[in-house]
Amino acid sequence: MLLLLNGMAWLQAYQKLPVLSLRLVNVIAAICVIILLLAIRQLGSMHFLMHILLLSALLRLLALSRQSEARQLVWVQYFILGCSFLFHQSMAMAVLIFIATGLNLLLQYLLFAEQLPERKQLAADSKFLLLLLPLWLGMFVLFPRLSPLWQLPSSQQAMTGLANEIEPGTIEQLVQSNATAFRVRFDSKLPAQEERYWRAKVFEQFDGRRWSVQQNFHRTARTSRSITEPDQLVHYQVIAEPSFQRAVFSLGLPTNWSPELEPLAAGLLRTNRPVSQRISYQLSSVLQPIPLTDDNERRWNLLTGNHNPRSQVFADELLDEHPEPHQFANALLDHFRQQSFYYTLNPPLLGRHSVDDFLFESQAGFCSHYASATALLMRQAGIPARVVGGYLGGDWYPEQQYLLVRQRDAHAWVEYLVDDRWYPLDPTAAIAPERVLDGLDSALSPDDMALLGRSLFGELPLFAQLRLQLLHLDYYWSVWVLGFNQQRQDAIWQSLRKFFANWQQWLLASLLLFLLFLAGLAGYCWRHRQQSSLSEQLLKAIPRLSARAPEQSLNQALKLLASSNAAEHALLRQVDHLYELSIFASDKAAEQKLTRLLKQHKRRLKQLKPMKGSQ
């Protein structure tokens, strides 16, 4: 629809079609709004508003007849450009939008100046235009930042990433996506691959087949921060891609977090609004088991439901052999190792008693199958346990110093409670230790790899390389532009302050400023000297000339002076001749000669006798 209207605008501009009447435009607008209203459910309110704005701007363009309307349109276009950043933040889009802003500025210029500047003038103005850049970036870097003043509706879109429930098959779908989930910059030492379990959600409700997030989480989040050695802490910054969820990715037990995050139970955090645009948050964690929140949590995590009877029997048998919880966990892993379980992306479908089917029939599954079975078996053995969803590992780029976690790193594992502490347990590590140690690709069979369609990139290393470079560029973009926040700003101020802490630096800076000032002054003077006209130079060199009668021209005065100073007659005639040449014939060479002559005979010219003719 927008394209159609755009086409009309083009036609209008090039075929000199008449401007549409207001009534016709209103009719078109009404039709468009009705169509949009029909689609409002799909679009969400933000998109709807945006569409309305765009439509009205375009229609206004069709019916544009006055200059004031054009100005309003330009204004609205700035606003639209600003709003489009709510939806698009990738670097390419940002470049595009800023180019569009530049075009809009040009449009505004043309509206008021009515013609493009000449090349000469543009060259003269360009150095002032260059001032724009430091002004702009300086403001961006140093202008104080505020936290959100009030809540605004965010654009609603389908959630991406981990869903709020896990059933056999959900994670398999997720890992087929190569999209970036989040990136991490570590301010402390990088934890080992097998320690990088990024917790996002805990699934505590089980209905026999599906694990889901306990929605009525009324447990008071315990914010007591355990005392830990500072060197045990991991400090990191997460730059999350928009997921339209509020889950925060964290390692172990978070102890410190940026103010826009709020703590949840189970050692989790969430953002204060759904992540609809790339955001970054600062976290500090200690890689320790998470403490129990309260007794309700323990109770919830013992519920098994009356499903999966065969696994109940198996759990009871195993518990008899290994009554201690840690031993029970190890025995379970041993069971997975010894039996013919295998790790696949493409497991057979499971029935209603999914754990029974998996444990005793298919024995093939992905991380969620193993986690689901392990958690249930533990619960059946009386050990509180839950499934944790998140990401495992990620690719570390040492040159760029960041960790890239993709959707395909999605993972599910188990936490079980011993002595009021939740210990992590990853059954996948028993089946496919490569998954934990080297990432997903190494753990998958060639068939599975083909399923992911990953072979293509293996064949085209150049393409893969280019993709990676773009990813890195995107990372810097998100860290330095999108992720530029108050803390970073504070850091810059801090370093500035630190820089000026001692007097030598002060001296240096003031000296530099002084030098700059001197240079500016010198440039200014030099320009002015250049600009002083020839007649002024002449008047300065021959003071007698200022005594001429007001109606006399300089030429006349020079001739008079020559006649009264017989000794300098030749010199003055020459001066006169050169002056005439340079003024009336615009002879540059004569001008230069004249200045040289004036400089050479400075003394003589100053001592001339007064003119005879002057009154």
Binding site: F85, Q121, F128, L131, P148, L149, V481
Partner: protein, 313 residues
């Protein structure tokens, strides 16, 4: 309410004008510089600032750096355009000459001579309703229609620019202190009115002494028409002779009788026409108006004086 604001605005403008007039060094070559230029955002500029604030709020509330970046870009554009607007006028020296006298209904034109070391773009000159725009290398002339005869002062001309983006207006009132003349529109006489009519060319030497009628002397009556014989007898009540032919008697004298309103305008227009005719014929002529007489004369200066007298009637 609007009355009060317009009154206040007028007062403020007057203040500004007189304040600026003192700051100009000379009255002939008006130089625009930091002491004679005023800078303020335009209405569109205020809208633009509102846009920046809106974008800033949006960017802050969504914690969206790109929107903030856009807001700062627009803000720095705004700040720079202050400088650009100022630089566009600063250093400009303007010479203004009084508009040439015209007849009512014609266009007045006031030329400006601009000198600038750097270039200037889209500079507007405005006086009352008249407005003109100049860019580098163009001749600046302000045109406006002369509606009514008279002698008018021009105390100030507004010079302004909204270059480059219409956000900032940089302006000054030029204290020009000029005057201009608007003469009555010349129209061909339709009826027999005092003055020269076409027929009079033939019977210029018509008998002068025809039966006279007398009337009491009134100030403004020509001394030539005094009844001298009677005055000798009765010096306290002077009487003048009036006759139908009297004006024709001396075609070189054009007379404006003491009339009012449309009749006066009509008369002035016709007298003006006759003046021009006489000047074209190179005949010497004089003018009699209620305000006084102009002696017989000839030449452009004399014509000018006569026309000015007509304009002031």
């Amino acid at each position: 309410m609007t009355q009060i604001t317009t009154k206040l605005r007028d007062k403020l403008r007057q203040r500004l004008k007189s304040w600026l007039a003192k700051r100009f060094a000379s009255n002939t070559v008006l130089e625009l510089n930091h002491s004679t230029l005023l800078v303020f955002p335009t209405r569109y500029g205020f809208w633009f600032v509102a846009l920046i604030i809106l974008l800033y709020l949006l960017g802050t509330n969504y914690q969206n750096n790109l929107i903030l970046l856009l807001a700062y870009l627009l803000l720095s554009v705004f700040l720079l355009s202050i400088w650009f607007a100022w630089r566009n006028l600063a250093g400009l020296s303007i010479e203004v000459s009084a508009p040439a006298a015209v007849y009512a209904g014609q266009q007045l034109s006031m030329p400006f001579t601009l000198k600038h070391q750097a270039s200037y773009q889209a500079v507007y000159f405005s006086m009352r309703a008249a407005r003109t725009k100049v860019s580098q290398g163009q001749q600046a002339t302000l045109h406006w229609p002369a509606l009514k005869r008279g002698h008018y002062p021009i105390d100030s001309v507004l010079v302004y620019t909204e270059y480059p983006l219409g956000l900032i207006r940089c302006w000054s009132y030029l204290p020009v202190q000029l005057h201009y003349w608007v003469y009555p529109t010349p129209t061909e006489p339709t009826a027999l009115l005092p003055g020269v009519d076409p027929k009079s060319d033939h019977n210029q030497l018509a008998p002068e002494e025809l039966p006279d009628q007398l009337k009491a002397y009134q100030p403004g009556d020509s001394i030539r028409r005094l009844h001298w014989k009677r005055l000798a007898r009765q010096p306290d009540s002077p009487v003048v002779k009036i006759s139908e032919q009297q004006p024709k008697a001396d075609p070189r004298w054009l007379q404006v009788p003491p009339l009012h309103g449309a009749a006066l305008e009509q008369c002035l227009s016709e007298v003006c026409y006759q003046l021009l005719e006489l000047e074209a014929k190179q005949v010497s002529y004089g003018l009699k108006t209620p305000a006084g007489d102009l002696p017989l004369g000839q030449g452009s200066l004399h014509l000018q004086q006569c026309l000015q007298r007509l304009a002031l009637c």
